[in-house]
């Protein structure tokens, strides 16, 4: 163990954050202001998520961090080792074995369970921000449920691109009341937000906001009657594990324009390969593309 208090933050700070989390859970989708602390990492690297994780972690927890679905990228590795050092908790890359999962921009493919907590890192918690720059005005719009402006954004999408081109951070309405930014997850993940068994917590460090979705909350993606919401993904299968139902990353693999589509959720992909599934891009399985 180190000289740090458990999970880096002092107990008073964690208490303050837990109060914000409880309030957020009581009012699903409502952005609760909290006194965000300086963390030993730059803003934009998940300071909000780290603070929320620190507040909910207990010594018995098993912790997992994913960044765009992957367990092995810089952000995920450094946050995982941060909590290994400051909290001494078990860490894992196995989704089903984790009790707290901090995520940047993805929801794991594997359905989460009731004893799990999913913590999102949120850069800009205000879904109306790019349409209405005044914070005083957006707060008033939330409190009076004036969400016509959100549809103006979708209208603009359709008029410019012929379809709703917003593909990530797709706005949702929670329990028929608050419009919420689900953090920049791909809209492929939007249907998983609603009716999820796990607790979902959202932390925005720079913007000093926490919001939450309790288990089994109704979450509806906004759309038009004649342009319904559609969860989209690349029209390919994973080159490594052959999965057809998972969200895919496109990876450039050489200078000749060669590319590989593979699961963005590395744990899901590995699990499938260990179970014997093989994709067409694995050595020995290559087919002429």
């Amino acid at each position: 163990m180190t000289d740090y208090n458990f999970a880096y933050l002092d107990e008073q700070t964690k208490r303050m954050i837990r109060r914000a989390i409880l309030k957020g859970l009581a009012i699903p989708g409502y952005q609760v202001p909290f006194a965000s602390r300086e963390m030993p990492m730059p803003y934009g690297w998940g300071t909000g998520g780290v603070q929320v994780s620190a507040a909910v972690l207990t010594p018995e927890d098993t912790f997992k961090v994913i960044d765009q679905g992957a367990d092995d990228t810089t952000n995920a590795v450094s946050i995982r080792s941060f909590f290994e050092r400051t909290a001494g908790v078990e860490t894992t890359t196995d989704t089903s074995a984790a009790s707290v999962i901090q995520t940047r921009h993805r929801i794991p493919e594997e359905p989460l369970k009731e004893d799990q907590i999913l913590v999102y890192q949120v850069p800009i918690p205000e879904p109306l921000r790019f349409l209405e720059p005044r914070e005083s005005e957006t707060r008033k719009m939330h409190s009076l449920e004036e969400y016509g402006l959100m549809h103006v954004k979708l209208y603009e999408d359709i008029s410019r691109h012929g379809h709703i081109a917003t593909s990530y951070a797709y706005p949702v309405k929670v329990e028929g009341r608050y419009v919420m930014d689900p953090s920049p997850i791909p809209k492929f993940d939007n249907p998983k937000l609603g009716d999820m068994a796990a607790i979902q917590l959202f932390g925005a460090g720079r913007e000093q906001r926490i919001y939450a979705l309790p288990p089994y909350t109704q979450v509806v993606s906004l759309d038009f009657e004649d342009h319904p919401f559609e969860a989209s993904k690349a029209d390919q299968v994973c080159g490594l594990c052959g999965a057809e139902d998972s969200y895919l990353d496109e990876v450039i693999i050489d200078d000749a324009g060669g590319r590989l589509f593979c699961c963005s959720d590395t744990d899901y992909c590995l699990g499938r390969r260990n179970a014997g599934h093989q994709g067409s891009s694995l050595p020995g399985n290559e087919v002429a593309a």
């Binding site: 349409l131 009076l144 004036e146 016509g148 402006l149 549809h151 103006v152 209208y155 603009e156 359709i158 008029s159 410019r160 038009f224 009657e225 004649d226 342009h227």
Partner: protein
């Protein structure tokens, strides 16, 4: 007949300065009221108090709502007042930039009020937006262009379309022709007059341009130092002004 808008003793102070003092009048359905006066005479303060943008220090603004009949908009709850602001009321700003979303296409600007009252069918919203662009003489082909690419006159007409799309019953206008050249002004006035007559709108127009009220307004109020100094039928006030200030105002107009 119930007045559409009934204003009783509206008073607004800015510290020790008087914004406007003890203004009262009734506006009946289909009527256009002009408010004229020099800069700083309290015209815009009065308009903003009536439209709910400013809270008056004293007085009542009673509006004949569709559902509950006459209701004081000063004491009604803010959600109710804001709902009025996007359904039965319209507000045309002097500078089109204040009333438009410059980063949003013309169609989106017109459609915003429709979406704000719950319209959720893209095709319908777009058709109504195109229809309204046509009514304010903007080419339907520019529906996807941003207002930044429009001329000043077009922006002002777009602002009018955006305000009238939900079929309001009362329009507040703050110097709608300010900053436009005379030929564009004439076309805009022509358009406004047509729309007001066709839709049976009531309107309150604040301006310092006497020609505008001569063309549009049925009745006229002359304000000076925050107080109404003369009120009456437009032609009566303009052709036979009684108060010294009204006489000065009328005689100051340049004859070409």
């Amino acid at each position: 007949m119930t007045p559409l808008l009934s204003v009783h003793g509206i008073t607004k102070h800015y510290g020790t300065h008087i914004g406007c003092a003890d203004v009262s009048f009734d506006l009946y359905p289909g009527e256009v009221m002009g408010i004229v006066g020099e800069s700083g005479s309290g015209k815009s303060t009065l308009l903003n108090c009536m439209a709910g943008h400013l809270a008056p220090d004293a007085g009542a603004v009673v509006f004949d709502t569709r559902t509950d009949g006459p209701k004081d908009t000063v004491t009604m709850s803010e959600p109710e007042r804001r709902m009025l602001g996007r359904t039965d009321w319209a507000f045309v700003h002097q500078h089109a930039r204040d009333g438009l979303r410059m980063g949003v296409s013309a169609g989106g600007n017109v459609g915003e009020r429709l979406m704000a009252v719950g319209e959720r069918h893209y095709g319908d919203i777009r058709n109504r937006a195109t229809d309204w662009l046509d009514r304010v003489e903007i080419d339907a082909g520019r529906v996807d262009d941003r207002p930044t690419t429009f001329s000043g006159g077009m922006q002002q007409r777009l602002q009018i379309a955006r305000n009238l799309v939900t079929g309001p019953r009362l329009v507040f206008m703050d110097e709608p022709t300010g900053g436009l050249d005379v030929s564009v002004q004439a076309r805009l006035l022509d358009l406004l007059r047509g729309l007001v007559r066709d839709m049976g709108l009531s309107a309150i127009i604040v301006t310092h341009d006497l020609a505008v009220v001569r063309l549009l307004a049925d009745r006229l109020m002359v304000m000076k130092s925050g107080r109404v100094v003369e009120a009456g039928l437009t032609d009566q006030v303009l052709d036979d002004p009684q108060h010294a200030y009204s006489q000065l105002l009328v005689s100051s107009v340049l004859q070409v």
